[in-house]
Symmetry: C2
Subunit: 380 residues, 2 copies
């Protein structure tokens, strides 16, 4: 056995060296030699700081060039340090999906938070919202909930969600409810927002951005004013002429973003480090210890496999159990041995982050640190 495969001659397992074999690995760790050994129990989530920083800068530059305020969605990462990097790069504020996420980020000092979700306002939800310091705004897409905002602190604003083609939540820009909601919100009304989720899929970004612009503009025209807030990572490059955008996944990128045309493989900043635990040479099948309990199983019909090996896109995960990934290894590439470590690019980064309590961050100088996923599991 060669070095780096974890087995010494005597049969005792060696410390794992976090390194790559040049024949079939690349990515954040490509062509780099490390002067130290490091042991990470796999599976584990890795972040490459240089790529993360570049992704944050690139989106901030796009927003700046188009004079769109950036309010990134922190549900993707749920990590204070990353949200701070986004604000330091010029973000106006942050976007959350739940009251629980907003509580965490407000507690860490973030003072301008939009919960871009049509919250159901129970008494408890109202109490919790009223207790969050800073500038808070929420989403509303029904007359009932517009009326229910009456219990909220006066300075909490509301944006009306409109549907720009994703057909999920949100009222249509032409519906009579739109004006009724606006009326019920009174002075709380701040504008309209949409999530152009139909941007996901190969080549969908441009049309989704056009739909978004039309839905937002039609809405504020009908309502005689208000902020327009939109944005998704796949449509972001085509977004223009709206007031604010709320992309999320762009900080990490993932297989969905690559396939949607939003990034390249070299812009993927988050991977799942895994170990080959089993192999079948005649079938060219290997089994990794990263399963659905860390990779999640998000798999739209337009994606092949449940993630792929970084630097080796043909090596796709054909099946995922809770603690096993099955890969039928490409013929032209040397079959990995037991103990070898592979970096997996997941299909959907947001669901991966929500499965771990901390991530390992590789700094530009080669050192590592960990960050806590402080808002993990804050589903309500």
């Amino acid at each position: 056995m060669g070095t780096g495969h974890g087995i010494q001659q005597g049969g005792h397992p060696n410390r794992l060296w976090w390194r790559s074999r040049s024949d079939d690995r690349s990515g954040p760790f490509e062509h780099k030699e490390y002067s130290y050994s490091m042991m990470i129990d796999t599976p584990a989530v890795l972040i490459d700081r240089e790529r993360l920083t570049a992704n944050i800068s690139r989106m901030a530059a796009h927003a700046g060039a188009h004079e769109i305020a950036l309010r990134p969605h922190v549900k993707t990462h749920k990590i204070i340090e990353i949200a701070q990097m986004q604000v330091d790069a010029g973000a106006r504020g942050i976007t959350c999906a739940t009251i629980g996420e907003a509580e965490i980020f407000a507690g860490a000092g973030f003072t301008d938070i939009f919960i871009a979700y049509p919250l159901y306002l129970t008494d408890h939800a109202v109490q919790r919202l009223n207790a969050i310091p800073g500038e808070i705004s929420i989403g509303v897409d029904s007359v009932e909930m517009a009326q229910a905002t009456a219990g909220l602190r006066e300075d909490i604003k509301a944006l009306i969600e409109v549907d720009s083609g994703h057909r999920r939540s949100g009222v249509t820009a032409t519906a009579s409810e739109l004006s009724q909601i606006r009326e019920a919100l009174g002075s709380r009304y701040a504008g309209v927002f949409t999530f152009p989720g139909h941007s996901y899929g190969p080549g969908n970004g441009e049309q989704a951005a056009a739909d978004e612009l039309q839905a937002l503009n039609n809405s504020v025209q009908r309502l005689a004013g208000g902020l327009t807030s939109g944005g998704s990572s796949p449509s972001a490059q085509f977004t223009d002429a709206i007031d604010e955008m709320r992309p999320g996944v762009y900080v990490f990128n993932d297989s969905q973003q690559i396939t949607s045309g939003a990034c390249t493989e070299k812009q993927v900043a988050m991977t799942v480090l895994s170990t080959v635990v089993s192999r079948n040479v005649s079938d060219r099948r290997i089994i990794l210890d990263a399963g659905s309990k860390i990779l999640s199983t998000d798999k739209p019909a337009w994606i092949d496999g449940n993630g792929f090996v970084l630097g080796n896109p043909e090596a796709r995960i054909s099946a995922l159990s809770e603690h096993h990934a099955t890969i039928f290894w490409p013929d032209k590439v040397l079959l990995p041995v037991i103990g070898e470590q592979l970096n997996i690019v997941p299909n959907h980064a947001c669901n991966v982050i929500n499965l771990v309590d901390e991530v390992y961050v590789r700094e530009a100088d080669g050192t590592f640190r960990t960050w806590k996923v402080v808002a993990r599991g804050r589903n309500n």
Copy 2:
């Protein structure tokens, strides 16, 4: 608005009453009136204690009748209280998927733990295994790892994983490696195990149980002895003539188990309580606040939808975002209103449990308690 929909006339949200409307809900909460109000922030995982107890008893009775030792897999629930119920019902010990799970359950006093996984034995893994008190056994499916067990405490046993048709990890019962692994294990060898995962799917259970029996028997015949350990929830009812079985999901059941023929809807003990946050009357579309970050997205090709509404199997989730479930509501049933609560039967219970830190348990007398998911996220 009627009662129970969370809205008072004045527009202020009311406390949610956890109750069902008789027209379109059933299940654990069917035809029951509660004399109290209870507020649970949704989405949340609910366990019905009566059904849980019945599921545990039923599997214990089957195992007892066939003289098969029961070693349930705790990765399904990751909850101490449930593992204790299983042991109290006669389980020989428990099965874990990872060292981290074994550490948690050993720390809670469980003394007979099989980690049914072909672990990669790093130095750190060996240290951790050696520190777990009690009777510990692990899985092995390669000569390399059989040799690497030399670093383990002498009383830690190993079972060889064989592939009975699932084509994941495990050696084939006829492979030359089988004897080589047995030889390398020496006195640590305790038997063979398999996971007949090809039991998942409509009508697959019986054939998978037959394949399992053949693979296990062939293996111990070649190896001149040893324990035979198998079992999965869908094949369990057909399992006979092996020494030990390790089903997991049967405690809760889920949409996969129903479709695989392993249970009925009335035997589902775990649901996700969710709230209708948005509706589109003309499309008959409702949006729930339970998304992929609590329901997970496990969806085999032979399952329709990403879970369904308890008591209303035609109401299936057609799309899942992180915090939204989209349901196109059946024509014959009254469209739920905003604020209404629905219980969702997920496709795969094991991945749901791993997304929450606690569950709500409804006792037989109608009171509630919470249990901690102590082994959540223990992926390594």
